[in-house]
């Protein structure tokens, strides 16, 4: 088990569009101060922002967590429902169940999960209807 250097957790409320990005911006600023390479940092920021937006647009509320060890940064998004009916469909580009409200703001194009997967070095999603969804993403530092 690697020594943990930094651990951060943010609760994200459903439907709180106005503050969307606050958690991801805070994560990005903290990691920037630690001198993380800008290319890796941008991948982490994009994945984190997509996860945060998903919590706001689709979930009934959840948490965005970041853990840093000397070799990797892990992002975990965990919500309390409603769960994804068909995960493989949700992972396809262009598939979206986002509301009109989300689309009016410039989101909900069905790029979120595929974009997280593309930016992370490792990606795992577990979802159960009526229970919730947990996404774990890993970013190698070395």
């Amino acid at each position: 088990m690697q020594e943990q250097l930094l651990k951060d957790s943010y609760s994200v409320c459903a439907g709180e569009y106005q503050t969307a990005g606050d958690a991801s911006a805070s994560i990005k600023r903290k990691l920037k101060q630690l001198g993380i390479d800008s290319t890796i940092l941008r991948r982490i920021a994009v994945a984190s922002y997509e996860a945060e937006l998903n919590l706001i647009i689709h979930s009934q509320g959840g948490e965005l967590m970041m853990e840093m060890t000397p070799v990797q940064i892990k992002l975990i998004s965990k919500d309390v429902g409603p769960g994804i009916a068909d995960v493989s469909q949700a992972l396809k580009e262009g598939f979206s169940t986002a509301s009109e409200e989300a689309r009016d703001l410039g989101f909900g194009a069905g790029m979120g999960l595929p974009n997280m997967k593309r930016n992370a070095d490792s990606f795992d999603i577990q979802s159960e209807l009526g229970v919730g969804t947990t996404i774990e993403m890993g970013f190698q530092l070395k």
Partner: protein
């Protein structure tokens, strides 16, 4: 090319970031869909958009986009400019449409930011 060089090409107004106009510009992305911007943009890009909400600045911050150009005469609300100042993003406004803005910049040598952000 720098942000300052874009101003005469687009007859643009500088809405904020007057002291940061000498930053280099390598590529551009034109979209009103922030989902697509998040999926396609690479480094040192500028964003041309007609969407004027605060999420444009948040998206720009995540991607290290340091210049946003609002096209078709749109001026964002003050809270959006406030967010841009806080993050340190230069904001320009032009009367040209998205299409013409992109065309003028392409003609000036700025190419698309077509690579996937994770690529």
């Amino acid at each position: 090319m720098t942000i300052r060089d874009l101003i005469p090409i687009l007859d643009a107004k500088v809405l904020c970031g007057e002291t940061d106009l000498d930053q280099e510009v390598r590529s551009a992305c034109g979209s009103d869909l922030m989902s697509d911007v998040l999926a396609f943009v690479k480094d040192k890009a500028i964003l041309i958009t007609g969407l004027t909400n605060v999420h444009v600045m948040r998206t720009a911050e995540m991607l290290d986009i340091h210049c946003v150009i609002f096209a078709r005469g749109k001026i964002p609300p003050e809270d959006v400019l406030e967010e841009a100042r806080e993050i340190g993003i230069v904001v320009l406004a032009t009367e040209y449409t998205n299409y013409t803005t992109c065309g003028l910049l392409y003609e000036a040598g700025i190419r698309g930011s077509s690579l996937r952000s994770g690529a």
